[in-house]
């Protein structure tokens, strides 16, 4: 419906800002996430809490308490920003003197380094979500990709132009193998993918320990669970050279290509169209001649392949070796990917931004902890709160009294466990 009467620009902007547009909801969720973080900082910092307890003691006390709160919260978020994006002072220094660029660029380089595998694995999970498939096994697929790529990276010796792509393809293949198991089981026996993928994760973890403790792959001269170091020809070189000390590697280009591929795949390819139809309405997909079986197998192969690629990129661009704790526990990018995909609404660009946000919160949280003593876990709390509010748009709508519009629901959050 085009507006017949001319509406003033600010009115229209305001209307957009107060509508339930998905982006608006996400922005408000971000605000809420940081607000909750601020409240946590306030209530867990002893000095701030003491100041608030003493506000009735003298006239100046309330002002002091408020100032202290702002100082603490401000310092926390400031270090989070300067530790993950750029420190304005350092940037100014570099711009005026032309020196110290590596120091200035370190925060953003770290954020990109962390975001790189996250983008890749989250896009894999997002594509599965769009097809109505809950791939909880992305982590195991990433681990197997890392192992497969690692084997090629350590045990074959070739010039880089062949070695790196070959190891990369091995990583993709490893993820595809791990992904095809639940895919085939679901397609041909109806096994529930959530159960199968969760279980398969543990199988892969056990295989990882076996691999890094077995003679050909284990680091020679070591008894513990660590692999050989990747050949230099199978590592992603740092984007700005080793001398810069900046860790960001050519892996980011792989991630960028994955974003472009995902955009083409979902928006432009015939197979991606089949996937989206299947995800949005499985019955209509069937009636339109789309084979549910081949879609299920293919989506797992693609999702797993991307997870495997992410696993290899992670190892080949940072640690250059794999140990028994590779991507396990808190380092499980395959699980973070689920929340990132939700936050990014399963769209490639959304996932890109969400990954950068999550990486920045993690990297900035590290700076925050080391400089202000506020634990890094606060970053995790903020991430969780943001996702919580994005997943429950009704809450955000009520809190900010947004008008009805295209309601930003996350279909998969509610339907993922069905069928």
């Amino acid at each position: 419906m085009t507006e017949a009467t001319p509406v003033r620009l600010h009115r229209r902007v305001w209307a957009q800002l107060t509508s339930q547009h998905p982006i608006v909801v996400t922005i408000f969720a971000l605000i809420l996430g940081f607000l909750v973080g601020a409240i946590i900082i306030m209530t867990t910092t002893a000095s701030v809490l003491d100041a608030w307890r003493g506000i009735f003691h003298n006239w100046g006390a309330p002002g002091h308490a408020i100032k202290l709160t702002f100082d603490n919260v401000g310092a926390a978020y400031r270090t989070m920003f300067t530790g993950s994006v750029v420190d304005p002072n350092s940037l100014w220094h570099s711009l005026t003197t032309g020196k110290n660029w590596p120091v200035t660029l370190t925060p953003i380089s770290e954020t990109l380094t962390y975001a790189t595998p996250l983008v890749i694995v989250s896009i894999g999970v997002g594509i599965a979500f769009q097809t109505g498939i809950f791939n909880i096994g992305a982590n195991g697929q990433a681990v197997l990709g890392g192992i497969a790529g690692g084997v090629v990276a350590t045990m074959v010796h070739l010039p880089m132009v062949i070695h790196l792509p070959l190891a990369l393809l091995a990583g993709v293949a490893g993820g595809m193998v791990a992904g095809s198991v639940p895919g085939i089981l679901k397609a041909f026996t109806g096994a529930h993918e959530v159960i199968v993928t969760i279980m398969l994760n543990y199988v892969v973890y056990a295989f990882l320990l076996f691999a890094v403790l077995s003679t050909p792959f284990q680091q020679p001269g070591q008894q513990n669970d660590i692999s050989r170091t990747f050949d230099g020809s199978a590592q992603f070189p740092p984007l700005f050279g080793t001398a810069s000390g900046l860790r960001v590697s050519y892996g980011v280009l792989v991630a960028a290509m994955v974003v472009v591929f995902a955009w083409w795949f979902l928006d432009r390819s015939s197979l991606g169209f089949d996937f989206r139809v299947t995800g949005a309405n499985p019955s209509a997909a069937r009636a339109s001649g789309i084979s549910a079986r081949s879609v299920v197998v293919l989506v797992f192969v693609i999702s797993g392949g991307l997870a495997g690629l992410a696993g290899f990129v992670q190892a080949a661009s940072t640690t250059h070796e794999i140990d028994g704790g590779f991507l396990i526990g808190n380092a499980g990018i395959g699980f973070t990917a689920i929340t990132i995909a939700l936050l990014g609404r399963n769209r490639p660009m959304g996932i890109l931004w969400s990954s950068l946000l999550f990486a920045a919160l993690g990297v900035g949280g590290r700076a925050m902890q080391s400089q202000t003593g506020i634990p890094l876990d606060l970053a995790t709390v903020i991430q969780s709160v943001i996702v919580l509010f994005v997943a429950t748009p009704v809450l955000v709508k009520e809190i900010f009294r947004l008008r009805a519009g295209p309601v930003a629901t996350l279909k998969l959050a509610t339907q993922g466990w069905g069928t």
Partner: protein
């Protein structure tokens, strides 16, 4: 619905607060931490600062240093996986830490490359002696824990009623197996010298002597330093095989042994490792016959203080019974004075070099 509305008003107000706050974030420029204070930093391994073991000891060493010299500020970063070692160390380098303490042999590679890239940066690494370029300033902190482990083995052997004691490790690192090797040597020495008919389970030494960098053999390992369930399972297995005292060398995994001893009931004890069990876990003190302690805290404290004073010396430090860099500490169980006397004699012998801590010198006769 109404209450949500009310909440929304409150949160609306709070969002205004946040708005102002963002302004203040941008407006404030120079951070307070840029003062000239000396900063000591520790990067822990995946166990974190609450592992009641060597990560906790390293962090406590920083705390002790701050107590001795309040002008020192301290900070830590935990690694969630080995992928965090490098960025954690880098973060501290960029924040101009006076000294960076890294914990554990696993961080060898990350510490070495950081030290080579930043030769002026002072590092101290616990349980490792990295090979670094000349001109760098890295202090390796190592401990001949087989000496105190030997005394621990004697204590366990002397206290055992069932004639068997056991040990297990987290992962087969030299810093772990050295303890186990010394423990087994102590048990065998006690068995042979006092005809006690007691045996050690969980570690079979390889031929040859152990050193700080290699200590081979076959034994029981949980595969990590965090899985307490695995520690409990292994300990229960040892109990069922006839052991009554177990010596876990696996950081916080040892808490699983405590749980297993509690479950097994009277007469089952644990020998704690690294730092005094009765201090780290007071509620379970009555289950600890003793602790084979490693002087991580004092040596880290000394390293930090020397760095703050400008007297930091790169190279390596080796803790022994003689310099109290490793020691046997008694726990919450009453020890007969006769046994204490035997242990004191052995200690003097080890320091004097008259008693060997190599288990192969006390072969088991079958």
């Amino acid at each position: 619905m109404r209450s949500i509305r009310r909440l929304s008003t409150m949160l609306g107000a709070a969002s205004l607060v946040l708005g102002t706050l963002t302004v203040s974030v941008v407006a404030t420029t120079v951070s307070a931490s840029a003062a000239t204070k000396f900063k000591a930093c520790v990067v822990t391994d995946t166990g974190g600062i609450n592992d009641k073991s060597f990560n906790a000891s390293a962090w406590a060493g920083l705390g002790d240093a701050k107590k001795s010299d309040p002008s020192i500020s301290i900070s830590y970063l935990s690694s969630t996986s080995s992928a965090d070692y490098v960025p954690n160390i880098n973060t501290f380098i960029h924040e101009s830490c006076g000294v960076i303490v890294t914990v554990g042999f696993l961080m060898d590679a990350a510490t070495t490359s950081a030290a080579n890239a930043h030769p002026t940066q002072k590092f101290a690494i616990v349980d490792d002696a990295p090979v670094v370029k000349k001109g760098t300033s890295v202090l390796g902190l190592q401990y001949e824990t087989d000496q105190a482990g030997f005394l621990g083995g004697m204590l366990a052997a002397g206290m055992s009623k069932k004639g068997a004691v056991a040990t297990y490790g987290g992962e087969p690192f030299p810093s772990v197996t050295l303890y186990m090797n010394g423990f087994v040597a102590g048990v065998r020495y006690y068995d042979k010298t006092y005809h006690a008919k007691v045996k050690a389970l969980g570690w079979t030494p390889a031929k040859g002597a152990c050193s700080l960098s290699t200590c081979n053999g076959k034994g029981t390992f949980t595969g990590n330093f965090t899985d307490q369930t695995a520690g409990k399972t292994d300990t229960s297995t040892f109990f069922s095989e006839g052991a009554d005292i177990v010596f876990p060398v696996a950081g916080s995994v040892g808490l699983g042994s405590v749980a297993a001893a509690k479950q097994a009931g009277k007469g089952h004890y644990v020998m704690w490792v690294d730092s005094n069990g009765c201090t780290k876990d007071p509620s379970d003190c009555s289950l600890f016959v003793g602790t084979v302690a490693k002087g991580v805290e004092p040596s880290v404290e000394a390293a930090v203080l020397s760095a703050a004073k400008g007297t930091f010396k790169a190279g390596s430090y080796v803790g022994t019974l003689a310099n109290k860099g490793t020691a046997l500490e008694y726990g919450g169980v009453t020890i007969p004075s006769a046994l204490k006397a035997k242990i004191a004699t052995a200690k003097a012998g080890i320091i004097a070099g008259t008693i060997s801590v190599n288990p192969n010198n006390y072969p088991v006769v079958k």
